[in-house]
Assembly symmetry: C2
Homo-oligomer: 221 residues x 2
DNA sequence: TGTACATCAGTGAACGCGCGTTCACTGATGTAC
DNA sequence: TGTACATCAGTGAACGCGCGTTCACTGATGTAC
């Protein structure tokens, strides 16, 4: 997707390779795999092409990964970690801007929607969704990581809605797990539509509609 | 997913094969391909396994399809046709039960949610989403079919919300295309979560939450 | 009704290419004494 | 400071298997006269 320069000119590298250059190569392999899998599927992505874009040989790949399944495992593990960090950061920004749990959530939705609007091109896709639609190609460990990813989303927002629910009364009764899942559902579904319709603003619009709907559901003008 | 008997005992077959047995074999190949692609991806699904479950030889496959890409094209075309029919049927049932466009839509959501609840096991997935996440493996024709599928959903529900909007005033302003897309987004996203969490009731719950939210958005108690 | 031909719905064997994986080896860097 | 060894981050060649595709052929059914 985006081109990363291995040596950015602006920032002088005091410690050029934090964990050795192997770590960097491994990250670049994971980046290449991430992009390829989201557009061509797992079985449709060959090790050959990954090492070609990374600039090493095929046997170099097997220095970093036991086999192709190991690549999927490490990729998903990294995704969960990074996704968690991104969510934490947006949450922290929302928390810094308001004290009320509902206001914080509405701010979070705005921040997330803005982030989606600012992406160049159409959203590249979500690794969880991509792998879900090929799950039989993977082992139990990978499927457990899929479960974990979705469960983390649910728990993050359930806690949030518990705080909201303690202070606000919804117009009609809502189940906390369900409204917690709703955010993830809107994002995942919108990504699919964004790509199908080639409409890069769709995701932001859906998030803002969801924001409006959450507000009215809790009777906020 | 579900086992179809080629000769159901209850109904005597007056015309056993409407368009010859070749048509039936072709349908069974498409069925096998549909199931396999939703769980293992397109490249991960071999022609070998499709003909094995269908009970013919590999060269028999190439009698029905020019190549593997042709299979994807026919599969998506059939999906769009059948999906359209299912939606038309649920729409007709909702129209028969009420005159008001909003009541009709709320009934439609209930019917759709009930249908999802009644499915045994977890939702097998949506072919559009599966192929979107492997789109680079396909030609322009297939990608145009993906666009068409999503566009049909949008247009179907935009017309519906135009009728609703003519009669009801939303609490906060809503864009018709956006709320039209919202239904598809909720379904697509919920399918991903249903499968990740292995929670077969999630889809129905999300649809009913969406129903509640549409009601409150248009200020209906 | 019988014969000739055409179409339908496949079969069976063979093909070459690319894929994932292995294995012995290597040059650069790090560490111990 | 020099030497010996270990580890890191790979290389290069080879492998066998399975995949998509082709091609000549075939038995059953349909159609024309």
């Amino acid at each position: 997707m985006e081109q990363r320069h291995s040596t950015p000119e602006t920032v002088p590298e005091v410690q050029p390779e934090p964990q050795g250059k192997g770590k960097r190569t491994r990250e670049r392999l994971l980046d290449a795999a991430n992009d390829a899998i989201l557009t061509k599927g797992f079985a449709g992505t060959s090790i050959e092409e990954l090492v070609e874009t990374t600039g090493i040989t095929k046997s170099g790949f097997f220095y970093h990964f036991r086999d192709k399944g190991d690549l999927a495992r490490q990729l998903l593990a990294r995704f969960i970690e990074e996704d968690d960090m991104v969510m934490d950061e947006l949450t922290a920004r929302a928390f810094a801007l308001a004290d009320d749990p509902m206001q914080r959530f509405l701010l979070f939705l705005n921040l997330y929607a803005d982030e989606m609007d600012d992406m160049e091109g159409v959203h590249p896709g979500c690794l969880v969704a991509a792998i879900i639609y090929q799950e039989q190609a993977f082992d139990r460990q990978v499927r457990e990581l899929l479960f974990e990813a979705a469960m983390r989303w649910r728990e993050r927002f359930r806690i949030w809605f518990q705080a909201i629910d303690a202070k606000y009364t919804p117009v009609a009764p809502v189940d906390l797990d369900t409204i917690a899942d709703a955010f993830s559902a809107v994002v995942e579904g919108s990504i699919v539509l964004t790509r199908a319709l080639n409409d890069r603003q769709l995701l932001g619009r859906q998030l803002r509609l969801f924001r409006t709907m959450v507000k009215t559901t809790y009777g906020i003008a």
